[in-house]
Structures are given as C-alpha cells and as structure tokens.
C-alpha cells in the first residue's frame, strides 16, 4: 500500500475496526439499559402538567382536535418501553441471537419522545406531531438520496466520499437547467446527470487509474465546491436569469393524503419525494433479490469470484458508480427545485457527509439508510422544537444535538458494522 499514497483503504480500516477481540455480545443491551436509565431520569425531571399534542394540520379533511397528554405518566410509560426493549435485548444476547434493528429503533425513538415530553410538559405551546414528522422527512430527504448513492457505490466496491459533491452538483444543475427551461421538472432530469458526471470522474480515476478512492472522493468534493462557487460568482452573478427560483409543485395523492397523521406527512409531497419512496423500495428489493443486485454485491464482496463466473467486474463498477452518482445528483435537486429555491454557494452545507454517516449507520442497506437519516432528521427537528419551546440552553448547544446523537448512535449501536469486503480495493486481474 506504500503505493497508494498511504491512505488506508477502507478494508484496512475496517479490519482494524473489527480487531479488538470479539466485542462483548452484551454491548447493545447495556447501551439500551443506559438509555433506559437516561429516560428514567428525564421522566423524573418532567414537570407536572400536560403536553399539548396536535396531530392534524389545518388542511386535513378529518380534524382531530389538540389533545393533552399527561406529561409524567407518558414519560414513565416511555421509560418502561425502553426498559422492555433493553430486557428483550438481554434475553436475545444471552441466547446469542441477533438483536433486530427495530428494537434499537423503538428504544431510541421512545427516548427521544421522552425528551420531547420533558421539554413540552406544562407548556402552553403544542407539540405538532405532524409538523415534526413532516420536518423530519424534509430534512431526511437529501440524506436518504445521498446515503442510497453511497449504498449502491459501496456495495459494488467503490467508496463514495464524493456524495457531498454529487449533491451540490445536482443542486446546481437542477437550478440552472430548470431556470433555463422554465420548468422545475426539467431540473429533475439535469440533477442526476450532474451527479453522473461527478460519478464518472470518481469511476474514471478510481477504476481506470486505480487512484485511492478516498482521495478521489475528497478531492471531487473540493472540485465541485470550487466549480459551482466559481460559476456562481461569475456566470450566474452576471446572468441572474440563469438562477431563478423554480419550484416543484406539491402533488397530494388523493385519499392517501387524507389519512390522519401520516397522510399529510407522506402523501402531500412533490415528485422528488415520491421518487425517493420509489427508489428506496426499488433498491431494497433489487439489491437483495434481483440479478443486478446479486451481481452488484458479488462484485463488491469478492470481485474475483464474480469474474470467474463471467461478470465483468470493472464494467459493473463503472455502471453502478454512475448510477450512484445519479441518485445523489437527483437528491441534490432537493436543495433547489424541490425546495423552491435558487442555487446558493455551498448550499449543501455538509449534508453529504451526514449522508455518508447515515449509510454506515444503516449498515449499507437502503432501509437502514432511511432509518438512520430519519434519526438524524428527527434529532434535528427536536432541537428546532426545543429552541421554539424556549428551552433554557444556549443555542449553540442545541445546534450540536444532532451531531451528538449521531456519535452516540454510532458508538453505541453501530460499532461492529461490516463494509462490503472488496470496498476500496481496485480490481486488477
């Protein structure tokens, strides 16, 4: 590896990660138990009084009035749930069985809800559940796209650090092309193409020239920031009509969008979000059950084995790196046309890196990535709500919340993740 500029290949990195003797099987239960204790403390601290909850929006067909939930009781109920999850995990661990992800998710969500109750009990403000969920989905959308891109690329063995660059390129292309065409939908075509362009550079350097993939990814991010900012300061500044505001219209799905709670959240969205649902579902099925997915995973796990059954490893990698680029590029459209905004310098603001974290946290699976993105979005929403409810904590510390939650999640639950075995290693016959 002296040859590769000494950057560690992720394989080396994961090998090191896996090293410290088999981690105790009780880790997850212990972490859950700690979480239960934390939840109990929050329950203790919950002030008397009720939390006002609203679960419908003004435009719903069926209006459900705001109702009050007893704060302390709810907090204790949530504590019991977390405890139950921890206990169940202990039982599973003793039997040396795998602890399913949903147990962790349930416990995590309950703990977050307890925090929510803690900050809202006894206050006049309502807890707008629908709004929280909608906001979560909104914040999670670009992360999901980015993480899915990572899943596709890394499953085929190419480390994609360039997600940030792909999102940004997508955002740029969507805004500019939509402005030129006068239609936001055209932006949805341009965005993935821009992502593909970045993906092509990634593939070109890492497959054709076997440059360390982490290097290429890091550098591509810099390149895209440089290019888009340069063009923004030159061409777009002189031609504002190239960067005007175009918005994807909201397309409520009849009937579905009227379901209380979930309807407005999930089915009163624009095309990009519906595309996201479709892509998540499609990838989850195709990666694990289709011919394409089987070959994709084979190439990422054991390229030589794939080669010996006649699969062209590097072509497979090329194609899927481009596909991954397209997915992230499409996600970039979120920042501009899907949000009804013009392009702004560096407007992705590091979301690509969070998406990378979501992918790892989600263990390289589409649904896992969604779950991780939702956790991140939810904790972001929570801190927004905390600020709105005037929780007496310096704003700077509230801003840290999602990042702290991510570290806790990674350290507490996702430590022992296994990347595709051949990830980051160029294939040479």
């Amino acid at each position: 590896m002296t040859a590769t500029l000494d950057a560690p290949t992720p394989a080396a990195a994961t090998a090191a990660a896996a090293l410290p003797a088999p981690p105790p099987a009780y880790r997850t239960p212990i972490v859950l138990a700690v979480l239960a204790v934390v939840t109990a403390v929050m329950a203790l601290a919950t002030p008397a009084g009720a939390t006002n909850v609203r679960i419908s929006t003004n435009t719903d067909l069926f209006q459900i009035p705001v109702f009050a939930v007893p704060g302390r009781a709810t907090a204790w109920l949530l504590t019991v749930l977390v405890l139950a999850a921890a206990a169940y995990a202990f039982v599973l661990a003793r039997g040396r069985r795998r602890i399913p992800v949903w147990v962790i998710v349930v416990a995590g969500v309950c703990a977050l809800l307890a925090l929510l109750v803690l900050i809202s009990a006894g206050k006049t403000q309502v807890v707008p559940v629908t709004g929280l969920l909608a906001g979560t989905l909104f914040l999670a959308t670009p992360l999901v796209f980015g993480a899915l891109s990572g899943v596709v690329c890394e499953r085929v063995g190419i480390v994609n650090i360039a997600i940030e660059g792909q999102l940004l390129a997508g955002a740029f292309a969507a805004a500019v092309v939509a402005s030129m065409a006068g239609s936001a939908y055209v932006g949805l075509i341009a965005a993935p193409l821009a992502g593909v362009a970045v993906g092509a550079l990634l593939a070109f350097f890492s497959i054709r020239y076997q440059v360390n993939q982490i290097i290429v990814g890091v550098v591509l991010n810099v390149l895209v920031v440089g290019l888009t900012s340069f063009l923004f300061s030159t061409v777009l500044r002189e031609n504002p009509q190239l960067n005007s505001r175009t918005a994807l219209p909201t397309l409520p799905i009849p009937l579905l969008s009227e379901i209380p709670l979930v309807g407005p959240v999930l089915f009163r969205q624009n095309l990009l979000v519906y595309l996201m649902y479709a892509i998540v579902i499609a990838l989850q099925i195709l990666i694990f059950r289709s011919r394409w997915g089987l070959r994709l995973r084979a190439v990422g796990e054991h390229p030589k084995a794939a080669d010996t059954v006649g699969i062209d490893v590097n072509r497979t990698r090329w194609r899927n790196t481009l596909l991954g680029g397209a997915v992230a590029g499409l996600g970039g459209a979120f920042f501009t046309v899907a949000s009804g905004l013009a392009f702004g310098k560096e407007m992705t603001a590091g979301r690509g890196f969070i998406a990378l974290a979501a992918m790892i946290l989600g263990r390289w699976s589409p649904t896992g990535a969604v779950a991780a993105a939702v956790v991140f979005g939810l904790s972001d929403q929570l801190r927004i709500l905390m600020a709105t409810l005037a929780v007496p904590v310096p704003s700077q510390f509230l801003l840290m919340l999602p990042y702290v939650v991510t570290i806790l999640a990674v350290a507490g639950f996702a430590g022992k993740v296994r990347a595709p075995a051949a990830e980051g290693i160029p294939y040479v016959k």
Partner: protein, 554 residues
Amino acid sequence: MRLELRGITKRFGAFTANDAIDLVVEPGQIHAILGENGAGKSTLMNVLYGLYTPEEGEIVVDGVPRTFAGPGDAMAAGIGMVHQHFMLVPVFTVAENVVLGQEPMARGLIDAGSAATVVRETAESLGFHIDPNALVGDLPVGVQQRVEIVKALSRKAELLILDEPTAVLTPQETDELIEIMRTLAASGTSILFITHKLREIRAVADTITIIRHGRVVGTAEPTTPETELASLMVGRSVSLGVDRAPAQPGEPGLAVRGLVVRDAHGVPVVDDVSFDVARGEIVAVAGVQGNGQTELVEAILGVTTPEHGSIELAGRPIDGLGVRDRLDAGLAFIPEDRSTDGVVGEFSIVENLVLDRVGAAPVSRGGALDVAYLRRNAAERVAEFDVRTTSIDREVGTLSGGNQQKVVLARELSRDLSVLVASQPTRGVDVGSIEFLHRRIVAERDKGAAVLIVSTELDEVLALGDRIAVMCGGRLVGIVPGGVSRDVLGLMMTGMPPEEAARQAAEHHTLLGEADLAAELQAPDGEPAVVQDGAVVQDAAVVQDASHESEEQR
C-alpha cells in the same frame, strides 16, 4: 470434450510462468497435472479458463480453436473450474453462489426456488446433499468445495478443472472426492486434476503431465513408479524426512487446561481442550482446516479470549496477559496465514525481522530504533535462513511466499523462546525450503523448546510430531504417538476415537492407502517408501538416497 492446448506461453513481465505448454485431454479422461509449488499449474489453468490471456499458443476445443476473452467464454465452451482458492462469496447462500452469473429469473427477480432446485439436483446427481440456503461462509471447507463443483457442473461443464482440490480434505473426504471424479468421468466429463501429491495421482489419474518451471517435462501413466514421477517433478531428489533423534521430553513447557473458545454466534469452536507439551518435545496437531486449530493457537497467543480454561507457559499461568507479555514470556508464534498475520507486506525485511520485539534492547533504546542493529540483524538472519532477496531493504510483500515464511521463522526463531507455536509452518513453501525449515524446528526442540505444530498436511504432522493430537469440531479427539498410520489419523480427523480408528483402519484401507500398498508392491527395489526414525517420507519428494544422506550426516 476433447481439449488441446498448443504451445501456451504466459509471461508476467519478464517472468515466464508457462513456457510453450502442450496438452491433450480426451473425453471422459482424468488427466492429472503434477508439479511442485510455483511450477505454473494454476497459471495454465487460469489461461485455459480465460482469466489470463496467453502471450502465445492456442486452445482447441473439440477441434475448434477458441480464444477466451474471459471466464464467460470459457464457460460457454463447456469448461468449468474449481479454483485453488475458492471463488465463493462468503456472505451469499449456496444457491446464490451457484447461480451467480446465470441466474434463473421469475417476474424480474431471481427465482430462488429454481436456484435451490438446481443446487439440490446437481448435488444429488453426484451423490451428496447440500442445503441451498446455507451461507457459504458458515460451511466447512470440504462442503464449500462441493459447492464449487456443483457450481461448475450446473453450468454444464464438460471439462472440469480441479486445482489442488485435496489440500483441504481429510483422507476420507478425499476418497469421496475421488468417487465423485470417477462418477463424472464415467458420464463423459473430462477432468483436469492438479496436484503435487503423487499418491492421489496414482489413485485416480488416467494420464499424467508433469510441469516444472513452467515447462512440460514429461508425461506418465499412473503405473509409473513414484520415484520417477518425483524426480521429474522436482528435478532432483530431496529428502523430506527429517532426520532426528527421539524426543527427550523435559519440564512442562506449554499446558492447556479445559480451554473453551466460542465464536460470535456462541458456538464453541474450541471445546474443552486440554494437553501438555513438554520442553524438548514436538506435539503436532492434525485436523482438517476449520476444526478449531486456528482459535486454539489464537487463544494461546492471546488475541482471542477463551471463555473457560487456562494456559500455562513454563509452569506460569498467562491467562491475564496480553499478547505482548506472552511474547515476552518466551512464546514464539508463527501464524498460519503469513501474509495477513505474519508480516507487514509494506515493511522491509529489516523491519519485519524485528516486528515483535521493537520495544526492547537491542532493537531500540529510549524509544529510538537502533538502525545499525536492525540492519546487522537483518543481514545475519537473511544469511542464516537463506532468504532469497536482492536486498534486505526490499518490501516483504514483494518476496515469494516461501521467502516470506522464512522471514517469519527467522524472526521468531532468533528470539529467546521457551515455547514455539507454529501454524502451517511450511504452507506454500517449496520442497527444498520445507526440508530446511523442518530441520530448524527440530533444532529448536533439541535446544529445549516446547513445540506445538498445527498443520493440515498429514505429511508434515507425521514428519515432525513426536506426539500427534487430532482435532475435530473443536474437540481434541485424541493424542497418539508419532508415526501412526495415515488412515488412523484420517479416521480420527472425522472424530473417531483413536482405538476405534485403529481398528477400522486395519479393516479397510482408503483408496489412497490401497494405492500406497499397490505402489509398495510395484516399487522397483521393493523398498518401502516410508519411514526412517519414525518420520514419514513426504510423498511429493521421494527419498532415493536416504542412505547416502544419513551417511553424510554421520
């Protein structure tokens, strides 16, 4: 299928791995290719399978010259291959591995049902059963090999290449494989069978081609005397029987008591193992790969934490100690996989030779490496262990496997040691070096070290072990004196207790055992090609002038 290779030449840079090789395989024939490590067998097969493009030469299938751009073309031409290093994706199921590249489809997705059927039916036609839904990574190597065979045959292979298929099998499993090969040959499938084990060839081959240094050096019939095959293969006569005095066991060196190691799923992979190795004695652990030997030695080294049991080094319990302290306490360790565990490929020979003793004088003082000492040490060790290299500064990763192994041994054997634990000490090492390395290990014994050897090669176990322990399924099946018959060891490797194994072995021989007997009868001078001081002569390199050599040593 009738296959003909004409003048195949394959070079890697300036190095010619295959030099104008000609070969003909008739339909239904079992054609053995014999050659020592590095002779170019795998390279030739990879050319035939389309993985490498030859610089020169022609592949003719049923009279039609073909060019293979990749394995896809080779498979389409009816060629299947079971690789020396299995080409299976460990995280896939058996069925997924088998259908990969030719997936049966139903409604746009892979038809899992018919994939499973393919596996079941192909396996049954060969007379065994495989669970199509098992994860390949969870299967024993013997079964993985069957998956490979099923994979090749499910692609309608008419010519099957088996690259050193027996290296990972017990003698009994080898028997079963030979049965499978015969079944296949009888149904018209041609087989190219690669090995460097003479006994196997005699048992199964119809015809033999011998390769040395990338060239065909001769063809032979199975009836050709072993001696002749051996000298063709090696180009000279070598003794691998280590000439050694009987062991003189002294004080306790290594003691293992009730050791239990569990894997991540909680399955015990080392199950209540106890044994002692005295100083001045070699205990060899035999067993098929994956029966707990790896975990056993890892527990001794301290990289795996056992659940129960204790380990003593020279009478001192070391259970609480880390790897560093165990090494300092006089443990020398040779890992089974040198390239991943034994050496740092990017480090120079100089650095690798001190990898596990950088912290102490004379290698370093006050946290600073003594570069002069490092270089002097390297020059000495390289000379002593005959490491073939252009320079002591060369990256170890660029050395051949055998030379890498010598670096590991040179490092470990140059320390003050009371216990030597060596896993597969000569795996992939050329015949000449094996001899040398074995002598060095015996020398350590004679200096008073307690030596534990783990090997999947029965030849090695028999050559070195003063006592032989056999492991199966994580349990210690029994410990028998050195020099017991292979058939007994083979049966013990299946888990049969020693007495029972001895009884059964006496009743009927394995195919290989029979072949051995046949060869003994045939041997020109009637001299049995076996024993000398309780050590067994390695089949691969037959002793012709043992007497001569003993003379020399006197």
